[in-house]
Subunit: 326 residues, 2 copies
DNA sequence: CTGAAAGCGCTAACAT
DNA sequence: ATGTTAGCGCTTTCAG
């Protein structure tokens, strides 16, 4: 594999000059640049990132931390991140916590001198774990509890969803959160729901159901919680679910017990996973701009954003809500 | 960040010795080892992979090449690969072809000196593109047309699926392949179906439908093809789909036209994506051991396998096939 | 505008 | 069993 030195010799310049034209930094005469580019071209030179990484003691690796990867939402996020990162010659690597000591994983990240970490997992770990990274200037997303640089604005989506339910005659709407209780009341979706349901004329007496997501799978949680909801005997016209996958499980529970969706109960999910369009019925959902979210993460890590980025949400109407106003 | 040299000094040995205990190679007295481990521990030393990679001119990066990542099957595969790779201190990075010149992507891989490439994309590219890698000793999976080191044995799964349909009284079974025609007849699932349908007493007159997967999304293809199937007016008791996502789209097409699944038509998918259990009806599918597949890829890249690995498949019966024998 | 040269932290002969 | 040392290929001052 041809090295920078060979290119330099071939072009009759120094390696420093070659570096300059490649990295587009510093002054170079157009004549020299031409020669160098020609040499690169003819020799088919491919810069060795390994060496570059070491020289600047910083890799072009961006780490995505997940519990496990079996989650369509993450998939969409990672997809977007890869797209954005590769445009800047960065590489996105996936690290999973599943069955591993978090400290080991963190050590892995450190050993590979990742330049940024996007934490999509929900493990708990005291912040001192991250000292090593903050010290090294690694950009962290979602690693500490405090102010995130990108926030999903669920207000608009929730507002639309609740208006839509109201306009379609629903009054008894439950919320399947699935999160642990202490998280449930911190979640922006749940909070908005609770704080505003009376404003939309909904009953205050409907259930907000917690469980242990994301420890358990979203659809399992949805299925179980919907079962509880049915068993409770509470009158419910519609249910909003924290995520689409939860809605998938929850609707299934209703089907399994002989109910029809949306004839007997209406459903609204959240996330807008693209294939939920093909669910039966097609899922009405709060759409999150996952691509923008993924882009924002990368932009932050690459230092291209200063202020916090807000990700928009809106309702995507499909078939899972029935008009029951007479 | 503390370096190997500092550890060596602290322990009163040379860097080579430290390397030896870390990499567990060569002889070291237990006394020295103890001292070194103590130094590592007390100094909180984390080896710098960047330097190591450069020194051996080979990275610990394994690349996964995808068209895009929005595919639950890949997700499961990547998940498994990450698990296996991290156990050996390798890192899995995702590279996407979408909207990019394949040659650029390949150059990226080369620039990062990846030690292996798992090609999950389906782009065409003459093999000379890979010369640079074979020359460098990079392990390649699915990059050239010839013999793969891991093969999914669809026979058993298909056999079970077809027996099951036969035993449930189905005679007119269609196959939604979705692949382009020239690929359709190369695919093991399709081939098995065509070669054996008469043996199971199925009509030879049923459709095998092609399209342009994976250029188009599986569920879109499934939806469109199922529409064609319905329009054709051909009698069909059951349909087998190349993938679960295709089945999702296909069943939706039937629902949208007023049919009931499985009352009017039965469905069998393939892949056993875990959440298809929650489809309505729960999808009966040919289960592929995706974890084993992912593991096999990594094992091959890491040089832990010599002979070709075979991935097993079997039918997972759920609710999408109805017994129509009277 | 360009070149020389000193690292980056680690590996792997080669010595001892 | 352990130490010495010459790179790995690139970046980046510092001179000129």
């Amino acid at each position: 594999m041809v090295t920078k030195k060979e290119v330099a010799e071939y072009a009759g310049v120094s390696t420093a000059t070659v570096s300059r034209v490649i990295n587009g930094v510093g002054y170079i005469s157009s004549e020299t640049e031409r020669k160098v580019r020609k040499a690169i071209e003819e020799l088919n030179y491919i810069p060795n990132k390994l060496a570059g990484n070491l020289a600047r003691n910083k890799s072009n690796l961006i780490a995505v931390l997940v519990e496990d990867l079996i989650n369509p939402y993450y998939m969409a996020l990672v997809d977007a991140m890869v797209e954005r990162a590769s445009a800047e010659n960065y590489v996105v690597a996936v690290f999973a916590i599943k069955n591993r000591d978090v400290r080991h994983v963190l050590a892995d990240l450190a050993a590979n001198r990742v330049c940024g970490i996007v934490n999509l997992a929900m493990f708990t770990c005291d912040f001192s774990c991250y000292d090593i990274f903050t010290e090294a200037g690694t950009k962290l997303i979602n690693c500490t509890a405090d102010s995130s640089m990108v926030m999903i604005n669920y207000r608009s989506g929730m507002e639309e969803a609740m208006s839509y339910l109201r306009d379609n005659g629903h009054k008894n709407v439950a919320f399947i959160s699935g999160l642990e209780e202490w998280l449930t009341y911190k979640d922006a979706r749940v909070k908005y729901f609770i704080d505003n349901r009376s404003r939309f004329g909904f009953s205050e007496d409907t259930a907000v159901l917690s469980a242990d997501y994301p420890m358990s799978k979203a659809y399992d949680v949805g299925y179980a919680l919907a079962g509880e909801l049915i068993d409770s005997g509470k009158k419910t016209d519609a249910v909003i679910c924290l995520t689409d996958m939860m809605a998938l499980g929850a609707t299934k529970a209703f089907f399994d017990r002989g109910y029809s969706v949306p004839n007997d109960v209406s459903f609204i999910g959240c996330d807008d996973l693209e294939f939920t369009e093909y669910f039966n019925p097609a899922l009405t959902t709060i759409s999150v701009d996952k691509r923008a979210e993924g882009f924002a993460y990368i932009d932050y890590i690459l230092g291209k954003t200063s202020e916090v980025t807000e990700i928009s949400t809106h309702l995507k109407v499909r078939e899972s809500v029935k008009n029951i106003s007479e």
